[in-house]
């Protein structure tokens, strides 16, 4: 309360008035007292001076004419003035006349005035008049002045008090209004007082009254809006929840719903049904028919499973559905359900827009899984992938399949590859290819190596497959291209890089290769070794790429020729420069007569086409001697040199 009083507006105004007024009054008091004192003193002094100046001419004449009687008379008359305490007249420093008032008191203060007496005509000094003038009047004036000041101060203080009371009274309506507004709430309007006052307070009250009305109206509107919004939000929330857990197309619960259900169950079995090659249906018939087929498929699954107790049919995504059985089930019954679904679907024709479509499905399943970490879906998925890989109609997950271990290994390799990219540990190693006639290095093959965190050199055998699956393969190719071009830029030696069909069909890789060849101006040194020529599906595109490379000045080699069902047709169509005979034919060529016959046939054929032959996997002297004997032009293998990160010292 005390704090409020000191902070209140009226208190501040009053205090301001009191302080300012006090300062003004005190200042005026001191200044005026000083000036008034001086003025009062000067007034009395002037009086004394006027007296002296008035009598001086008469005294002067009398003194001049030696009329002492007249002087006495004048002075006696003068002494009737009670303020004159004494008068002394001197002529040429000799006191001629002196008189003192009989009423003079001891210790009475007085003002002394001395005036020269001048000869009336020549104004020559002939004597002095000294007058002692009582300061009683001065003291009286000062006292009166002080009395007046004190009265004035008292009156002002009283006025300030009255003013402060008046200000408080003026401002008190504000407190009344404030008290009334304390309990204001938009739902509980208050009676704002003093609305009828015809002054500023009245204006404020009226304004507050109008504001209260508007706030109340606005509050009601806001409340209605909020209620509507809340209702709409609830509806939308329900819709979103429904959408969140439901597939829009088939209206079946979705993957999120399945995961939620799985997390709540202790023991459950799950069947994932995947429509084989559904993409082809979409591509061939269009998405409209594809979606219609999916809806029919969902209905069919519902028909097939509706008799199963505690089940939940889920649409996982496009062509994948799942059946969750929420209770323990026997293996026999479980397999029966799977076979029923498989059989029924394969014997059903789905009709859409006059198209009759037969679907094939693959099933991955997990039986009575009690994994607390809700990996049931992943397990069924693994089983599905393995079933697809093995072209089985269905597969039930078994941890002895070792799939998880393979997945783990793959993930580790992906991690290692990414680390190697980050640390620049993917490098090309160069294995020399010797000319069998000159015994000198004719060229080098760039082979990718990965250096792990322990400094081990890792062969691509371990990570190339994983790299292809995880889409890291193009990056590896790019690294080998760039680093090989950079390395051989200033070395007088040809080199070859391996490109898979995937590389040759990858536009970005091709563009990058061309850029690097141009940048390092190295086409004349480069040979492109084509991997996996067996059964080239996109022959036209591959041929086009190789033509471009040959035009740029590169040479072409077919790698691993002679393995599988390598086609001689490609040798003719692709205009290759080298044939690299597959290692499986070479490694036992010194003892295996059949291999030697095949190699000899390839060599003869190549020679007729002016194609150079390279023997890979030359791992001992006997093999080396044999390939030379068979007329193979060049040899490559550990017997001659293993791949090295730097081959300059061999050149």
């Amino acid at each position: 309360m005390k704090n409020f009083i000191t902070k209140s507006l009226s208190f501040k105004i009053i205090m301001l008035i009191v302080i300012v007024s006090s300062l003004v009054i005190i200042s005026i008091f001191f200044v005026s007292e000083r000036f008034n004192k001086e003025a009062f003193y000067n007034v009395e002094l002037d009086k004394a001076n006027i007296i002296v100046k008035t009598i001086e001419p008469l005294i002067a004449l009398d003194l001049y004419l030696g009329m002492d009687t007249n002087i006495k008379k004048i002075t006696q008359d003068l002494m009737k003035n009670s303020n004159i305490l004494s008068l002394t007249i001197k002529k040429d420093s000799q006191t001629v006349y002196t008189i003192k008032s009989p009423s003079i008191k001891k210790q009475e203060t007085f003002l002394s005035v001395t005036q020269d007496i001048l000869q009336p005509n020549s104004k020559r000094k002939i004597g002095t008049i000294s007058l002692d003038y009582s300061s009683q009047n001065y003291q009286k004036l000062i006292n009166n002045y002080r009395k007046f000041t004190f009265i004035l101060s008292f009156v002002l203080i009283v006025l300030f008090l009255l003013l402060s009371i008046y200000i408080q009274k003026l401002l008190s309506p504000l407190r009344t209004i404030s008290n009334a507004l304390k309990n204001y709430h938009p739902d509980k309007p208050v009676n704002i007082p003093l609305v009828k006052e015809h002054n500023e307070i009245g204006l404020i009250s009226k304004a507050l009254h109008r504001m209260q009305k508007k706030i109340t109206e606005h509050s009601k509107e806001q409340k209605n809006i909020n209620e509507n919004l809340e209702r709409l939000v609830n509806i939308k929330t329900l819709e979103l929840q429904s959408q969140l857990y439901t597939n829009n197309l088939t209206k079946l619960p979705n993957r999120l719903s399945l995961l939620k259900s799985i997390s709540l169950l202790e023991e459950k079995s799950l069947i994932i049904v995947n429509i084989d090659d559904f993409k082809e249906i979409n591509d061939f018939y269009g998405h409209y028919i594809g979606d219609d087929i999916l809806v029919q498929f969902a209905k069919k699954l519902q028909e097939l499973t509706h008799t199963i107790e505690y089940r939940e049919l889920v649409h996982l995504h496009a062509d994948e559905f799942a059946l969750l059985i929420k209770t323990k089930i026997s293996e026999e019954k479980f397999i029966n359900i799977i076979q029923t679904i498989t059989s029924s679907i394969e014997h059903t024709l789905f009709a859409s827009d006059n198209n009759m479509i037969n679907l094939r499905i693959t099933i991955g399943a997990v039986l009575n899984d009690n994994d607390p970490f809700a990996n049931t879906l992943e397990k069924a998925d693994i089983a599905l992938k393995l079933a697809k890989k093995k072209s089985l109609p269905y597969l039930i997950y078994d941890k002895n399949l070792g799939i998880e271990k393979q997945y783990k290994t793959n993930m580790q390799w992906v991690h290692k590859l990414k680390e190697a990219f980050k640390n620049d540990n993917v490098l090309p190693y160069f294995q020399p290819i010797y000319d069998n006639t000159t015994q000198k290095i004719a060229s080098c093959e760039s082979l990718v190596r990965l250096i792990d965190n322990d400094g081990n050199i890792i062969s691509p055998f371990h990570f190339l497959t994983v790299a292809k699956k995880s889409r890291l393969y193009p990056e590896i190719t790019r690294i080998v291209i760039q680093k090989s071009c950079q390395y051989f830029q200033n070395i007088d030696c040809d080199f070859s890089i391996n490109l898979s069909i995937e590389d040759m069909l990858h536009d970005e890789t091709i563009e990058y290769l061309k850029e690097q060849i141009i940048f390092y101006n190295i086409a004349h040194k480069m040979t492109i070794e084509i991997l996996e020529t067996e059964g080239i599906e996109n022959y036209e595109e591959v041929a086009s790429f190789l033509t471009q490379m040959k035009k740029m000045g590169c040479k072409i080699a077919i790698d691993d020729f002679g393995s599988g069902y390598s086609s001689f047709e490609y040798l003719l169509k692709l205009h290759v420069d080298y044939i690299k005979i597959d290692g499986t034919l070479i490694k036992n060529i010194d003892t295996d007569t059949n291999s030697a016959i095949v190699v000899e046939t390839i060599v003869n054929f190549a020679k007729k086409l002016n194609i150079l032959t390279v023997a890979e996997f030359v791992h001992n002297k006997a093999v080396f001697e044999k390939v030379k004997e068979l007329g193979v032009d060049r040899s490559q293998g550990f017997y001659l040199s293993e791949p090295k990160d730097d081959i300059k010292n061999l050149l």
Binding site: L61, Q119, S122, R124
Partner: protein
Amino acid sequence: MRKYLLLCLFFVHSLYAYVYNDLLLKTQATIFPKIILLDQNLVDKLHNNTVTLAIVYEKEDFYIAQNIQKLIEKHYNSLLDEYKFHVILLDISKIKNFNEKVTAFYVLHLSENNVTEVSQLAAEKDIITFSYDLENLQKGLLFSVTIEQAPTFYLNKKNLYPENVNFVPPLLQMVKFID
């Protein structure tokens, strides 16, 4: 016989001589020169920076005039304030031929005609006139002093020549005017 004759003559002369008040004479002799100095136009009345006071008398008063001359000369020692002070005697019979520049006339007892003559000359030549007899002021003279309880100054207002005789105001406040 001769002694008796001279004595007779003296007595006869004395018989006809005016009786002067010694105290008044002394008073006037000391005051009148000072009054001269209270004329603010005094400078115009000087000759060779000398204040000249002429004592005008009739033959009968020669000795009186001579005594007064001595008295004044003794009192002022030929110096009036900063000016030389010269006191001369002027027989009224010679006034018609009197051409000297004087500052003031101190007129002793004269006949009425002589007073008129002196006053006319004074008015003509801007000469301050002091009169032994108060009555003479009404006959044209300017200033006189009598001894009452204290010395009292009288001034004939008609004879004040404002342009040429300009006494200091305090003197005028002090004097009694005679119309």
